[in-house]
């Protein structure tokens, strides 16, 4: 079933605004952060208006209600990615913190000097720097699956790396620059055969594709609420139960303990063991509402809509002389179109597009090594989501012609 985009657009208050008088917003920056539907905004507003209290252990009515709402959000997220149990859903601040949780808790308990962690050349800084820190601290070895000219992972090279007995393979499910959807199921299967665990950076895949952690058989999955119609400030780490059980706590403090004596503590059960301190409660409720919204739309329909848009966008963009697209063909990627334009710096492209109300991103998109690989300092990136239209692609193309005109 295809989505009624006009109807969907009405659910997003910010899409109704003009950037400047007479200039409507064309929001093509959802890879950085998505816009929020009224349902999410209202869920958070209602929480603060009606149910606000700190969660767990409170016995008063509001505390019970807030706890129920928070835990209900966890259950919604578990169902959304088909996690066997909601206790496998750890709320963090964002994808970055989820990856750091694995790097600090699991990796520091399990990796020794010389152990190998495999990453890829298309990782976001959030799946590079935690491992750089670990490598410097522990002497853990890092190797990288190369990216081909076409913007795909080199699976043959991956297999060669896997023959070196890695302990962990940590990789993105969808590149935030190239848009490449990686063959996660196959990589996970190969990694397991090689005796390694797997961590998937789902920051771009969970918002845009049906993701089933049991079908993938992934050990850890990290993602953020704010890229999937939810609020900033809350993210998720999914983990296999046995692994999470065996891991030491990450941050220490309230709620992550069973008991505390002056000189020691006993950690709490899952998921609370990894949720020290008062969490982002209203944000969890907002995430729950975002999951409801996406579930109702249907993730297969979201994916189909984005495939239509990206196919059209690539076709139109390819026609523009001097424009060079990054990444693979439309069938192998999500709704991300990053490009360079001969003779014009991405900052200038983005600035001139902004004059027409078109919001795109310019820079290295937190993937500096990937840009170096392609020999460019930066790129301009337009990205699409559930609320974008083919007409907005046309406006983007018009805007790029305006850039070319100004730069003659």
């Amino acid at each position: 079933m295809s989505l009624d985009i006009a109807h969907i657009r009405r659910d997003f208050p910010v899409l109704q605004r003009e950037v400047r008088p007479g200039v409507p917003l064309v929001y093509l920056d959802s890879t950085a952060t998505s816009q929020k539907p009224l349902a999410v905004i209202q869920a958070m507003d209602n929480f603060y208006r009606l149910s606000n209290a700190n969660i767990h252990r409170g016995v008063h009515a509001l505390a019970e209600e807030a706890t129920a709402l928070y835990e209900e959000a966890r259950q919604k997220v578990a169902r959304f990615i088909n996690a066997p149990m909601s206790r496998q859903i750890i709320f963090t601040r964002n994808t970055t913190e989820s990856i750091n949780l694995v790097a600090y808790s699991w990796a520091r308990a399990n990796l020794q000097s010389g152990d190998l962690v495999i990453l890829t050349e298309m990782e976001h800084h959030s799946n590079l720097v935690p491992w750089h820190v670990l490598a410097a601290e522990r002497g853990v070895r890092l190797e990288f699956v190369p990216v081909t000219e076409a913007g795909l992972l080199d699976l043959e090279a991956c297999k060669t790396l896997l023959s070196q007995s890695p302990k962990l393979v940590s990789f993105t499910h969808m590149s935030n620059v190239l848009g490449t959807i990686t063959p996660a199921e196959e990589i996970i299967r190969l990694a397991h055969q090689a005796g390694a665990l797997t961590l998937v950076d789902g920051a771009q895949s969970v918002p845009h594709l049906p993701v089933d952690v049991q079908a993938l058989d992934v050990d850890f999955l990290a993602f953020s609420a704010h890229k999937m119609l939810g609020p900033t400030g809350i993210g998720v780490l999914y983990g296999k139960e046995k692994l999470l059980e065996s891991m030491p706590p990450f941050l220490g403090g309230g709620d992550m303990i069973k008991e505390v004596k002056l000189r020691y503590f006993r950690p709490n059960d899952l998921p609370h063991k990894f949720e020290a301190g008062t969490p982002a409660i209203a944000e969890a409720v907002g995430l729950g509402a975002a999951v409801d919204y996406l579930t109702e739309a249907g993730m297969s329909a979201v994916r189909a809509h984005e495939q239509e848009i990206i196919a059209y966008a690539l076709e139109r963009l390819e026609e523009i002389p001097g424009l060079h697209l990054l990444g693979p063909s439309a069938d192998k990627k999500g709704g991300v179109a990053a490009f360079t334009l001969d003779g014009v710096h991405p900052h200038d492209v983005a600035q001139i597009l902004d004059m027409s109300g078109i919001a795109v991103r310019a820079g290295h998109h937190c993937a500096q090594p990937l840009h170096e690989k392609f020999g460019i300092p930066a790129s301009t990136r337009a990205s699409f989501y559930i609320y974008n239209t083919l007409q907005e692609v046309d406006k983007l193309v018009e805007g790029i012609y305006k850039v070319k005109k100004i730069f003659g």
């Binding site: 400047r20 003779g343 014009v344 710096h345 991405p346 900052h347 200038d348 600035q351 001139i352 902004d354 004059m355 310019a362 820079g363 290295h364 840009h371 300092p377 930066a378 100004i406 730069f407 003659g408």
Partner: protein, 131 residues
């Protein structure tokens, strides 16, 4: 807003008049804007009277950063090193003749930062130089 890309900026970006590297030189400094990968190198020749006789820049980056560097090189020829130390943000914005938001301001100010760090003989360029 369209003023941001007024003719002089596009013209200086496409056909800079002070692009190059002076060899030999008396002062050289280079730095990046890590946000966008813009890079500027400035080389100066200085006369006996501590006045700049020649100035040139190399680099890559957006129209704002490159045009601003070109205009700045032109403006500093004939100035003494002490005068250059006094140059600030407003001086550069007057040269460009545009108003800029905080993000693009960094693009515009990179060349001034590099120039002043070189003139002061500093090891690194700090944002304080262009406040």
């Amino acid at each position: 807003m369209d003023d941001l890309y007024r003719e002089i900026i596009i013209e200086r970006y496409k056909s800079p008049q002070f692009r190059g590297r002076l060899d030999p030189h008396d002062i050289q400094f280079e730095d990046d804007n890590p946000l966008c990968g813009d890079h500027i190198e400035v080389t100066l020749r200085v006369g006996e009277d501590k006045r700049v006789t020649e100035a040139a820049f190399t680099g890559k980056g957006c129209a704002i950063s490159q045009a601003s560097a070109d205009l700045l090189m032109e403006a500093v020829i004939g100035k003494t090193l002490d005068e250059i130390k006094q140059l600030n943000k407003d001086f550069l914005l007057d040269l460009l003749g545009i108003e800029l938001g905080p993000v693009r301001l960094k693009c515009a100010l990179l060349s001034l930062k590099v120039l002043k760090a070189g003139v002061y003989g500093l090891g690194e360029a700090s944002d304080d130089l262009v406040e």
